[in-house]
Symmetry: C2
Subunit: 311 residues, 2 copies
């Protein structure tokens, strides 16, 4: 790419993911300069701070791109305000609380000729593209997703995750679905779902999905947020010509039992490389298929009440 | 349109809606000839009968179009088989049990150059297009949908409607949503939903939705399947320049208190007129937005347990 001025970018929503991932990735990418942070409470040392998005949009017309790292429930209004103010927008996953609001954002971005990028960080895990390439010519017999982690360990003190408008165990589960929808050579869809709701919660703590595959493969997913001990994020695929295992959330690929790919995490650096490409090309990249699977699972799911959850 | 051979069409799924609506509409439309009916049990006098879709597809290559009137839960496999056999497909509403399966059908139809038509019969109610035209230049302040009917009266003996994979009160409610998405000059999205599940059912018997409108209107919907007495299917819209009321499921339009449009039902005849146009033009018409609202409502909805339902 030819040398151009770096894009001036602001981060909106300064939580753990913004500090751990977005800021370092922006800092190490010469295509971007971090110029401001918007947060009601948090401050970032050495970065101009705004309490409210509107104030920043007004004061800093030179900031042409925003990374929205706020929870999905409040993301739409901010994204809409940013697009209406003529700014390009990157969305943390999932891109919204509903599918329709995401379509509305796409329409707005398209009308204004702006870049909108719905990120799925797990798709940039090191094993994902090689897995996709390896599967492309093969006939898939089965896919088994097992995504089991301990919610107490990964979301301490976040009581809001149990409120309606959030997706419960699909918050990690959607990472698996973002990989599934990337590596499968053809689409599958949720045929049935069993959703376990703790008696005191509005979002599921566990889910078991069965997918229908027009070419006859058996595709299942098991998500559980009550899993202590070894944390498991595995996708195992059997084909007519060998098997693969994507483990550790997609970062390790094993083919026919032999290690094929592994290495240090580059998910968020890859996200910002792609965002720079989208900006340069004036493109939109919004694939709602992982969120659509979640909505489909809620739509057809059988609800089961399970033990109350107490942190 | 210039005179051509009528399209030979078969009906798949011979239930009440097929007999009451599809068959008479086909019979009175010179663009179609009803050549076969597929049903495990039901027979239609004077129409060739098949127990299974596959047999019909094999025996009657001259039948180039199918109307799928089976329940949504079994529609995907049949639609896929029909498209793979090179036939055009009309889908009763809703077009599927999940959003993803509908996308898959669209992809298949597109790849094969076939017509796929997801029908929304309520959009053809007499008041809908005039309401859309009247609203287009106005600023909307509020939309209030009230859709209340007696499930015992409209679905006697259909215990399956309470099983997971069906949408409960959204079965009539989606008709209102199909009108809403047609008459609104801009998209809105579900912001919150309250879903009442009878303690012995997997689908909601009532729902209350609040939508977010990027232009600030108040948009609500109230669906209730426990409503005896006068059955209500109303959409009331207040604007900066008058108000309208769509009542009787869209078939009666009142503007500023004065009757504007009413007349005999032409919903299904209009569906087959449009299908003939799509076939002539080689087009696909699949708008999933009503079903997407339902999925969004399930996704963000607060679940409430209410009294068990017994027919």
């Amino acid at each position: 790419m030819k040398a151009t001025e770096p894009t001036r970018i602001a981060i909106v929503g300064v939580g753990k993911i913004a500090r751990d991932q977005h800021m370092p990735s922006i800092e190490h990418n010469p295509n971007f300069t971090l110029c401001a942070a918007v947060s009601r409470h948090a401050r970032v040392d050495g970065v101009e701070h705004y309490n409210a998005l509107d104030a920043m949009l007004l004061k800093r017309p030179d900031i042409t791109a925003l990374a929205l790292c706020t929870p999905p429930a409040v993301r739409f209004d901010m994204a809409m305000a940013a697009l209406r103010a003529g700014r390009h927008v990157l969305l943390e996953k999932p891109p919204g609380a509903t599918l329709t609001e995401v379509e509305t954002l796409v329409g707005e971005a398209r009308e204004r000729g702006l870049t909108l990028y719905a990120t799925w960080h797990s798709r940039h895990a090191l094993g994902v593209e090689p897995a996709r390439d390896w599967l492309a010519p093969r006939r898939i017999r089965s896919v088994r997703i097992v995504w089991k982690e301990d919610v107490r360990r990964w979301h301490p003190g976040q009581a809001w995750i149990w409120n309606a408008g959030n997706v419960g165990v699909f918050d990690p589960g959607i990472n698996a679905l973002s990989i599934l929808t990337r590596i499968m050579p053809h689409p599958v869809h949720v045929a049935s779902a069993d959703l376990d709701f703790p008696s005191n919660c509005q979002t599921p703590i566990a889910a078991r999905l069965e997918f229908a595959d027009p070419f006859g493969a058996t595709v299942t997913a098991e998500f559980d947020w009550r899993h202590e001990g070894h944390q498991t994020w595995d996708i195992a695929v059997e084909t007519d010509a060998g098997s693969l295992l994507l483990s550790e959330g997609g970062s390790r690929l094993t083919i026919d039992g032999e290690p094929a790919v592994s290495g240090p995490d580059r998910e968020y650096p890859a996200i910002y490389e792609h965002f720079a490409e989208l900006l340069a090309a004036g493109r939109i990249d919004v694939d709602v298929s992982p969120l659509r699977h979640v909505a489909d699972a809620f739509l057809v799911g059988r609800r089961h009440e399970v033990d109350a959850f107490h942190e």
